[in-house]
């Protein structure tokens, strides 16, 4: 099924002086989808959003909204609205006036009609009856909703969100996260969400674009992103990982799977990059995908438990690989199910995983990733 495209970036580049903030970025956002741009701070994601909103003009390349090229359309004429990081509610107006602001600018409506629409929008975000409140008289979560209602009341083609949940505390953030997703599903508006928080992006998005240093690393649905990261950066930035550095490829099993040697211990993994025997690789292994069995078994890697961190639904178990020629440790996330083995610090265990639980990439210069991640 060919999908209708709402927002389209075609080879967009943005430079500020010597700095290239956005470097030849292209993507399409299908109508009605929840699209996230995920990246560390300074990666250029905010610049992308501001270009879509119209506050910045691309140095080269084109931006389309609803099929129309909008490079030269000022922000107040674009069919997209933005929810700002710091919300940018108008403190000199009450809640209702904030929500009707855009309608008043648009005109062609009676005051009563505007207020009706605004009340509807407020009801949609669960704020019915609060219209007369001052902005500083409502809580942070409520302000969040006002900011949403203020944009949604205009029925935009695209809603741009600049990490609006960042300022909330954890619990509220979790609640708002779900609400936002439900709202988006209900309204069918295209959401473009900017964030550096991968848990939010993974939980809400239909599609995620991971961006680093102004360049797109991977565009994919959350699950694909998580299971089959396309680049070394994505693998290390998205989700928790055991990161084993500088192993050597010993064998290419087929076009997807390879065997890697770390300190004399053979391991298996998916080839993220095209690899051939003898290549140096980094291996990323998801801790929750590792099978941990007490005692010695032939079909696995032997290790000794050095630390157990209990965390309610699961425990994080640190295992030192005893047969390795260099010190290696692997963390295992053990779900507390009925079948979960009883283990203690000092126990000898055997670790094993399916080939697609691990991803192998050519090493890159690590310094910047560690700093930013």
């Amino acid at each position: 099924m060919s999908q209708e495209i709402d927002v389209s970036l075609v080879h967009v580049t943005k430079r500020f002086g010597d700095l290239t903030a956005v470097d030849d970025v292209s993507f399409d956002i299908p109508k009605g989808s929840f699209f996230s741009v995920l990246g560390p701070s300074g990666s250029g994601k905010t610049t992308i959003l501001r270009m879509i909103a119209g506050f910045e003009t691309p140095t080269s390349g084109d931006i389309y909204i609803g099929g129309e090229r909008v490079n030269d359309v000022p922000p107040n004429k674009r069919r997209c609205n933005m929810v700002f990081q710091r919300l940018a509610l108008f403190p000199m107006m009450n809640v209702l006036e904030n929500v009707t602001f855009g309608l008043r600018r648009r005109g062609g409506m009676s005051k009563a009609e505007m207020e009706k629409l605004a009340e509807d929008a407020l009801a949609r975000v669960g704020l019915q009856g609060l219209g007369k409140r001052k902005i500083n008289q409502i809580s942070g979560g409520q302000q969040q909703r006002v900011a949403l209602a203020r944009s949604l009341v205009l029925d935009p083609t695209v809603l741009l969100l600049d990490e609006p949940l960042g300022s909330l505390d954890l619990k509220l953030r979790q609640a708002m996260k779900l609400e936002l997703k439900h709202l988006q599903a209900r309204m069918g508006t295209t959401f473009v969400y900017i964030t550096h928080d991968q848990t939010i992006a993974l939980a809400m998005s239909d599609t995620i674009a991971v961006i680093n240093k102004g360049k797109i690393e991977q565009i994919a649905p959350p699950e694909v992103l998580y299971r089959r990261p396309a680049t070394h950066f994505v693998a290390s930035f998205v989700g928790e990982n055991n990161k084993l550095l500088a192993g050597r490829v010993t064998r290419q099993v087929d076009d997807q799977v390879c065997e890697v040697d770390f300190g004399g211990i053979p391991m298996v993994g998916r080839m993220g990059d095209p690899l051939k025997p003898g290549d140096t690789v980094d291996l990323f292994i998801r801790p929750e995908m590792i099978l941990l069995r007490p005692g010695k078994h032939q079909d696995g890697i032997l290790g000794k438990i050095t630390e157990i961190n209990f965390d309610g639904s699961h425990s994080l178990i640190a295992v030192a690989l005893t047969e390795s020629s260099r010190p290696l440790a692997i963390n295992v996330k053990l779900q507390h199910t009925e079948q979960a083995p009883d283990v203690a610090v000092g126990d000898i265990v055997t670790l094993s995983w399916r080939w697609d639980a691990a991803n192998a990439f050519h090493p890159v210069d690590q310094s910047h990733i560690e700093k930013e991640a």
Partner: protein
Amino acid sequence: MWKRIKRARGLWLLLIPMLLWIGLLFVLPHVKLFILSFQERRGGAFTLDNYAAFFHKSLYTKVFIRTALFSIFTTLLTLLISFPAAFIITKVLGKKMKALLLLAIVLPYWVSELIQAFTWMVLFRETGVISYVLQYLGITHHNIEFLYHNSTIVVGLVYTSILFMTIPIMNSLDTLDDSLIEASYDLGGDFWSTMREIIIPHAGPGIMVGSIMVFMLNLGNYVTVTLLGGKNSLWFTEAIYNQFIVRFNQNQGSAFGVILLTFSVIFVWIVLKITKQDLTEAM
């Protein structure tokens, strides 16, 4: 406990110079002025004649109204000129230009008002710089006198008060989050609606402080008005000066002073009410 009391007492000591300053130089003279204004010139018996004289002599009411209207007009004009300047300095320019322009606004106040007024005279007089330049450019072929007009008074007053308008407005615009302006545009606002609904309401307190200060300064101006105004320049402050210095009529002069003070207080209060501003908030 003892420590706390001691600390509190120390703080009070710090306030003493200011209290003395206000008490001795502001409150006491004004109380004296107020009492004098209700006394007869000779003998000091209670009387309302000093106030009656103000309302009966059309000269004084005329001069007073003229002074008040001029002050209001120049205050508005100053606001009209200062606001865009303050906006551009705080919101549009880069750091370097910002500092430069701020300096350009502050610098003229390093010389006294008297010297400023003389400078204006050098510029504006018939044989002055502006007249010369106009002739040099061929725009006119004879000398033009710019001094001694009402408009010269207005120009002078606006000039002497720009700083006192610009700085408070800059101060309040500084606290305006740029994303508010962006949000307005994003929601379909244009330049004028953003100005009207977001920027001016936000700068309201600064505009109020600036306007009050400038209005008071204009109302009480003496030097600029007399030097630039020439033969038609009678200002209410000059009438007060005449009462004290020329006529030796302290009582009449005091009554005029009280009238001027009362008017400015009431006027400021009304404006605050109309614009729904709070003085404590504005200050």
